[in-house]
């Protein structure tokens, strides 16, 4: 039996999850995690169909964090959603948003593909096509980088070290924001680590899961698990910079599927800041830092908080590297991966992020720091500030050393 088995009967209906659910707070249309999750799970065992308000769950996992009994409420919801799509057809919109990797690969393969993909999105917005398929035209879609991370990585000549880690970039870093991957690489080199990039890794499955493509998530899970296992068996740690990828690889694979090797893999998958803090604890972190003048605010992605090891980026930047940074601690940003890109969810997503946007504006900072790529997009959109990954700041502190 799994150590962390899913047992809806452990729910004692205390409603702590309802009090913490950002979607419940933002809209009356959602019946709330307690009802849609464990309570209705009992009905789903006998009924074919599911409650339509299940569509409102964003899988942000604040319910799981609130639950005193350890019920993975959001995962129950995602399983129910998958069941729903066994007998219902997906919309074209969900197909597009779930398959960002497919689009990214296309943009990467075609000559000047990224340029045309970005252009296409802008034209699509102006012609009202996005709205027609149900994607919000009120916010920018993630634009494709002119060169993927994989491509850029290959051009870099790393200094060789006996210590090596395997990097799992994930779709967003690979196709949209390669700089994060490059900054990670630079930081690891500063710490005398060589970075291995496994090109066969596929999308972790997070965007697929929230749109109910469970079978595809399982396919990806099996593939990634096999690849990660190959490295873990050789004694390597696997590092992620995206907290949703990390959560998926370590936790959701275990909750959703029975795949050999997942549990052992999970022990060896690290968030980048957590890994660096472990080096610090062992006295092995390069602490030859310079000084940054700018003041920052940090936003903790829900998918990091849900992992139960605190906020290692804050420990690293504030306590260890001496960066002038404070935790915004203003809750979910609202975007939840591709949730906030859906036309019918846009207002809910922006209402959820309202508190965070207000906190950022009040603080007067120009740059907000956060691990999650879509959190960064949402903050950029909602609070009109620059956003960066913690490792970009860490690289800057290293490079500020004269």
């Amino acid at each position: 039996m799994k150590k962390h088995r899913i047992d809806p009967d452990r729910c004692i209906a205390c409603s702590a999850c309802v009090a913490q659910c950002p979607v419940t707070k933002a809209t009356q249309r959602f019946r709330g995690p307690k009802m849609v999750g464990p309570a209705l799970e009992r009905m789903r065992l006998s009924e074919e169909d599911v409650d339509p308000t299940l569509d409102y769950c964003s899988n942000c996992k604040n319910c799981d964090m609130a639950c005193p009994s350890g019920v993975p409420i959001s995962t129950l919801n995602m399983l129910a959603r998958a069941k729903y799509y066994k007998i219902h057809k997906h919309s074209m919109r969900d197909d597009m948003l779930a398959h960002g990797e497919r689009m990214g690969k296309l943009a990467k393969t075609l000559p000047a593909g990224a340029f045309f993909a970005n252009l296409g999105m802008n034209i699509g917005r102006n012609l009202g096509v996005l709205r027609m398929v149900g994607i919000s035209d009120k916010r920018p879609l993630p634009s494709y980088a002119s060169e993927s991370f994989h491509k850029q990585f290959k051009k870099i000549r790393q200094q060789s070290f006996p210590n090596k880690v395997v990097f799992y970039p994930g779709c967003y870093i690979n196709f949209n924001d390669p700089k994060v991957g490059l900054d990670f690489l630079a930081v690891m080199q500063k710490n005398q680590y060589e970075v291995i990039v496994e090109e066969e890794f596929v999308c972790c499955g997070s965007p697929l899961l929230v749109n109910g493509y469970l079978d595809e998530v399982e396919e990806n899970a099996k593939k990634n698990t096999q690849l990660i296992k190959k490295w873990v068996d050789k004694g390597y740690k696997v590092i992620t910079c995206c907290t949703s990828c990390g959560l998926m690889l370590k936790q959701e694979y275990q909750e959703l599927f029975e795949i050999d090797g997942v549990k052992e893999n999970a022990k060896n998958i690290y968030d980048a800041s957590e890994f660096l803090m472990q080096l610090y604890d062992e006295g092995k972190l390069n602490t030859d830092f310079g000084t940054l003048q700018e003041k920052y605010l940090y936003h903790a992605p829900c998918h990091l908080r849900a992992q139960g090891f605190g906020l290692p980026a804050m420990d690293l930047l504030k306590d260890v590297a001496g960066v002038n940074i404070e935790n915004a601690d203003a809750g979910c940003c609202g975007v939840s991966g591709n949730y906030g890109f859906k036309a019918d969810k846009y207002d809910t997503a922006m209402a959820i992020g309202g508190k965070l946007f207000g906190t950022i504006k009040e603080s007067g900072v120009r740059t907000v720091v956060s691990e999650c790529g879509t959190c960064r997009m949402q903050i950029n959109h909602g609070a009109s500030v620059d956003t960066v990954h913690p490792l970009t700041i860490l690289r800057n502190v290293y490079e500020a050393k004269k």
Partner: protein, 415 residues
């Protein structure tokens, strides 16, 4: 290796108070919590002791505390520390601009959503019942289509519990929610957080109540730990507002929790959520670290002292097996239990006797350190606070948050 002065395990009222009091002493504190803790479920009021051993109403909390049996946590903590902890809490609330009222010398009887009165000690200003006895006209505010709150029921039962001389008038208010799920008290409290919601509510009220009366309402006066909404409705109507105590989620509990979390942040306490502590690392009769059991891997946290505030059977601090054994999972502290499982409970739920299962818990010394069956000290640097303590039935005697506050404080003073 990073090492804290104090690690508090548990984010309920006892844990939050223990962390706050430790931080005030200048300690470097990490709080490990799993789930939201009791304050969402229980209420944000602090009962100290409402009923005596025989089930009769206590005169004042202080008098009742002096009369507890030897195995009661208050007996171990002592009246002096109980007094200090109440002062500590009241001062913390004042500092956070959300002052509580009440003292050990006065029993407050506050109205519940069932129209009964319950004894308590420290309450937010939204439950100030001082005027309840002086004013004849009591409006009972209800809302159309509000889940789990019946103004008629409150009015009917108050005639018995509070007295039939008063004039009770039920006032029904329209809220502005239409469509979607059932409306809850939490929805209404959030509605009043907004300026538009407050204005609409006040307008509705003004047409239906006359100044100078007492207004009993569900706990909807905002979700933030401040009195902004209370002051606004008071000023607009000239009435005295009293919130009733309701079922979960507890709005007054959420406010108190927010206030304490805000305070801990200011005090520099490191808080780690979803940290499921399942083991301890012991060396020579001391605890050097605790281990969390994540779905991915175990993680160790090190400190000089540890405060165990993991709750009782409900919170997971005590686990009972079907075989009638009780286990404290982290330190494996031996727990004394009634010999046969049949004797765990008293079948008359509302009788004048405490429930034996409620009194099951960890035996402690004056410094809140755990003892074994023979009374020997188990660990010199582990301290216990809250619902996992032995010797009290909070439900029977109305002492839940009181034991949490005083034992959390005492544990922090002992580290």
């Amino acid at each position: 290796m990073r090492k804290d002065d104090v690690i508090v395990i548990g984010g309920g009222f006892a844990g939050l108070i223990a962390a706050a009091a430790s931080a005030k002493r200048g300690k470097k504190v990490t709080l490990l919590s799993f789930g939201m803790g009791t304050l969402t479920v229980g209420s944000g009021i602090v009962d100290i002791l409402g009923y005596n051993n025989d089930g009769t109403a206590a005169l004042t909390p202080e008098v009742a505390v002096k009369m507890v049996e030897d195995d009661h946590p208050y007996h171990k903590i002592g009246l002096q520390a109980v007094k200090e902890s109440v002062e500590f809490f009241l001062e913390l609330c004042r500092e956070e601009m959300y002052p509580y009222i009440g003292s050990l010398n006065e029993m407050k009887w506050i109205p519940t959503a069932a129209g009964t009165l319950k004894p308590t000690c420290l309450v937010p200003k939204t439950i100030d019942v001082a005027r309840l006895k002086e004013i004849d006209t009591i409006y009972i505010v209800g809302f159309h289509c509000l889940k789990d709150y019946y103004a008629e029921l409150v009015a009917k039962n108050l005639k018995t519990s509070l007295g039939s001389d008063n004039k009770y008038e039920v006032v029904m208010i329209n809220h502005q929610f239409s469509g979607g799920r059932d409306v809850t008290i939490l929805d209404l409290a959030r509605w009043l957080d907004s300026e538009a919601g407050r204005a609409a509510f006040i307008k509705e009220l003004q047409g239906k109540i006359k100044p100078g009366a007492v207004v009993l309402i569900p706990p909807i006066l905002g979700t933030a730990p401040d009195y902004l909404v209370l002051d606004a409705v008071k000023k607009a109507t000239g009435c005295h507002f009293i919130e009733t105590v309701t079922i979960p989620p507890s709005i007054s509990g959420l406010r108190l929790r927010s206030m304490l979390i805000n305070h801990l942040k200011k005090m520099g306490v490191r808080m780690i959520e979803k940290a499921n502590v399942m083991q301890s690392i012991l060396e020579d009769g001391k605890c050097v670290g605790v281990v969390t059991d994540g779905i991915d891997r175990e993680r160790s946290y090190y400190a000089q002292s540890f405060i165990l505030a993991t709750g009782g059977f409900y919170g997971g601090g005590l686990i009972s097996s079907e075989l009638g054994e009780v286990d404290e999972p982290i330190f494996k502290i031996p727990i004394q239990i009634p010999i046969t499982q049949e004797k765990w409970s008293n079948l008359n739920l509302f009788s004048n006797e405490k429930q034996p299962f409620a009194k099951i818990g960890i035996r402690i010394d004056e410094k809140m350190r755990p003892l074994d069956e023979k009374g020997n000290l188990l660990f010199e640097n582990v301290f216990v606070a809250g619902r996992n303590l032995q010797g009290y039935d909070f439900c029977f005697e109305k002492s839940g948050n009181g034991v949490a506050l005083t034992s959390g404080y005492q544990a922090a003073m002992s580290v």
